[in-house]
């Protein structure tokens, strides 16, 4: 089982400073195996596929002597969200955000970036045209695009580990350091910790076991849902069964565990969207599910995908929604 990270831990973000044209910086630490997730749940795919692992050694966001990043192109939803949340000083340095930045199904920053900020897919020409000095990239960025960006002197910051709040705190601090506004990063972290403290103060009793399940996969130990469940005052049933990561759990196996709470993602921005009720009804209609405690007690809970699959602030939102639905006391 993966040990839980604490706020001071460092996630596996990889920054590749480029010294000379035509070659990657000698300090590159992104040499771990890429995307070694054993399986990917469909509902979580948007984030997990984008953010799958590159287990390099932890590395400071900026190496001594690096020029500050003044033209940043963000190519992950998490960095789209964090760079916006860091405030005007950080936003002013962003010259492009990801193509999914405005998709409310995935992005917690949908609609906030001004139209003048280009939305860019991961194409080399599209990114280079923005003349960035730093690209925040994802693990699935094509090696050709990485090489081309590097060749043209663009530093690459690859966010790689997304296992919960500790990694989020560290990613915030890294991005805040890159935009030279660490105080803004600390404010975001403090906001998060205050929300988690409020959640902990109204933890429901008894502590229910919940499974985050969708299309044959569950989120077990070492996933962002593990932290979400704990923050909401729930236990992660898949973790209790000894599973780790995002793992296949057949419908029959999930039903046989008789989960008291089934958490699913719904393709909507807000929890009161009819799509969330429809998703709950669709899950309840799956064969065998109506016999589970979750269905009997009305505890099949749909959470907007951009919160449940978030690796950023949305994790706290998901925990708050879960706690609210499962009958915790008022804040």
């Amino acid at each position: 089982m993966t040990p839980r990270r604490e706020p001071g831990d460092v996630p596996g973000a990889c920054l590749e400073p480029i010294g000379a044209r035509g070659r990657r910086g000698a300090g590159s630490k992104c040499h771990g195996p890429r995307s070694t997730l054993p399986a990917v749940p469909r509902r979580l795919a948007a984030v997990l596929f984008a953010l799958s692992s590159c287990t390099g050694e932890p590395e400071p966001a900026r190496e001594p002597g690096d020029p500050p990043a003044r033209r940043i192109v963000s190519q992950t939803i998490l960095s789209d969200e964090v760079l916006w949340a860091l405030g005007p000083a950080a936003q002013a340095r962003v010259v492009g955000v990801s193509a999914l930045a405005d998709d409310p199904r995935y992005s917690g920053a949908a609609g906030v970036w001004p139209p003048a900020v280009p939305r860019r897919a991961l194409t080399s020409e599209g990114l280079l045209a923005l003349q960035p000095d730093l690209a925040v990239i994802a693990s699935f960025t094509a090696p050709e695009v990485r090489e081309l960006l590097s060749t043209h002197g663009v530093r690459l910051l690859e966010l790689t580990q997304f296992r919960g709040f500790a990694d989020y705190r560290a990613h915030v601090r890294r991005l805040a350091a890159v935009v030279e506004d660490p105080a803004a990063g600390e404010r975001l972290v403090a906001d998060l910790d205050a929300r988690l403290a409020r959640l902990a103060a109204r933890e429901p009793a008894p502590r229910l076991a919940a499974i985050s399940w969708g299309d044959g996969h569950a989120a077990a130990a070492g996933t962002s849902f593990d932290d979400i469940a704990e923050a909401a005052g729930l236990s992660n049933l898949a973790k209790e069964k000894g599973l780790e990561g995002h793992v296949p759990v057949a419908l029959e196996l999930m039903v046989s565990w008789d989960p008291p709470v089934i958490v699913i993602a719904c393709p909507a921005a807000e929890p009161d969207d009819p799509a969330c009720r429809a998703a709950e009804a669709a899950t309840a209609a799956l064969p065998g599910v109506r016999a589970t405690a979750a269905a009997r007690d009305g505890r099949i809970v749909a959470v907007p995908g951009r919160a449940l699959t978030s690796t950023g602030e949305g994790m706290a939102r998901a925990a708050e929604l879960l706690q609210a639905r499962l009958g915790a006391g008022p804040p």
């Binding site: 469909r42 984008a50 193509a99 057949a250 419908l251 029959e252 039903v255 669709a282 209609a285």
Partner: protein, 333 residues
């Protein structure tokens, strides 16, 4: 009934027993059988009972029905085209079902309910069948019909790729498409079985009814015509039967490769080339094989191995072995 048919028929209940006693829910065959008996007696079922009655039994029956449908469709195609390499996919019907299913997923229709994608895919199968008949013409030769089917299948595959390319930024859509195209019985239950029964029943009935004409066609088109076979009518009915069988199977479970190709050849080893025995025997073999494949797929709880992948993994080497043992000419006879 010949001995081979009796043996093949006996294999189905054995496969069903294996399937009922297999699964990640840790419920053995004895408990599963008692559960079925209790439910048939009208008892209410608890959670473990629901696993047997709502999950295992209907998906095993559906696997059998789908396997029989694909195998019978394969026997019809091989008989119509007098080509041992023909499988139900050559007419493009399954590709049409797949295209419509992918478009349905792209439009988010799967959120409307469990029925949505199967219904959309069935419409796609029917549309592909109609397009095939319109493109080939009622009096088209077998070669024209075959080439029209291949072209239609290629067109549908290209359009599926276009859909995936246009929505490449929607990773959840991409994964749904991949999973659907791999074929699966996961989550299928009584409603799916009830939707599959009418078209599959009609298609199997047609397949059995056409056996005599296919036997005449085996002698050649001229000989068949001299024996009074209306070739245009035979082609039309075979296309309709294959469309019903493959369309329903693909719509409900995705793409299951090789069942329609291999099962008729296995049946032919014991029945000979005559379609009177070949069609029912292929259907029985296809049914039992698909039930077993699904049971094997479910027995591995730590990984997801779609039945469509297993049918390919088992079917392809088996077919190569058959080819080596009997040769292409031997397969045809």
């Amino acid at each position: 009934m010949k001995r081979s048919t009796a043996l093949a028929a006996a294999a189905i209940p054995l496969a069903l027993l294996l399937s009922l006693g297999t699964g990640p829910g840790d419920i053995g065959l004895g408990e599963a059988l008692r559960t079925v008996a209790r439910r048939l007696a009208g008892d209410e079922l608890d959670l473990r009972g629901a696993i047997v009655w709502d999950l295992r039994l209907p998906r095993a029956l559906l696997a059998g029905l789908v396997g029989a449908a694909l195998a019978a469709a394969g026997a019809l195609c091989q008989g119509l085209f007098r080509n041992p390499m023909a499988d139900p996919g050559v007419l493009g019907v399954s590709s049409g079902a797949a295209l419509f299913a992918v478009v349905g997923l792209l439009l988010g229709l799967d959120r409307a309910g469990l029925w949505a994608i199967p219904v959309v895919a069935a419409v796609g199968a029917a549309a592909a069948m109609g397009l095939l008949l319109a493109a080939a013409g009622r009096r088209a030769s077998l070669a024209v019909l075959l080439l029209a089917g291949v072209a239609l299948g290629a067109l549908c595959s290209a359009l599926i790729t276009v859909c995936q390319a246009l929505a490449s930024h929607q990773w959840d859509f991409g994964l749904k498409v991949v999973y659907w195209l791999m074929g699966s019985f996961e989550g299928r239950s009584w409603p799916h079985l009830s939707w599959a029964l009418p078209p599959c029943g009609l298609g199997l009935g047609l397949a059995l009814w056409l056996r005599r004409d296919l036997d005449a066609l085996h002698l050649g088109t001229d000989a068949a015509a001299s024996l009074g076979v209306d070739l245009a009518r035979l082609r039309l009915l075979v296309v309709v039967a294959v469309g019903l069988l493959v369309g329903a199977a693909t719509a409900l479970t995705g793409v299951l490769a090789f069942v329609g190709l291999v099962a008729p050849h296995v049946a032919r080893m014991s029945s000979g080339p005559g379609h009177r025995l070949l069609v029912p025997l292929a259907a029985l073999h296809g049914a039992s094989a698909t039930i077993v494949v699904d049971a094997v797929a479910r027995s591995a709880s730590g990984v997801v191995i779609p039945p469509g992948v297993i049918t390919s993994l088992v079917g392809a080497p088996f077919f190569l072995w058959l080819l080596r043992r009997r040769g292409l000419r031997g397969l045809a006879s």
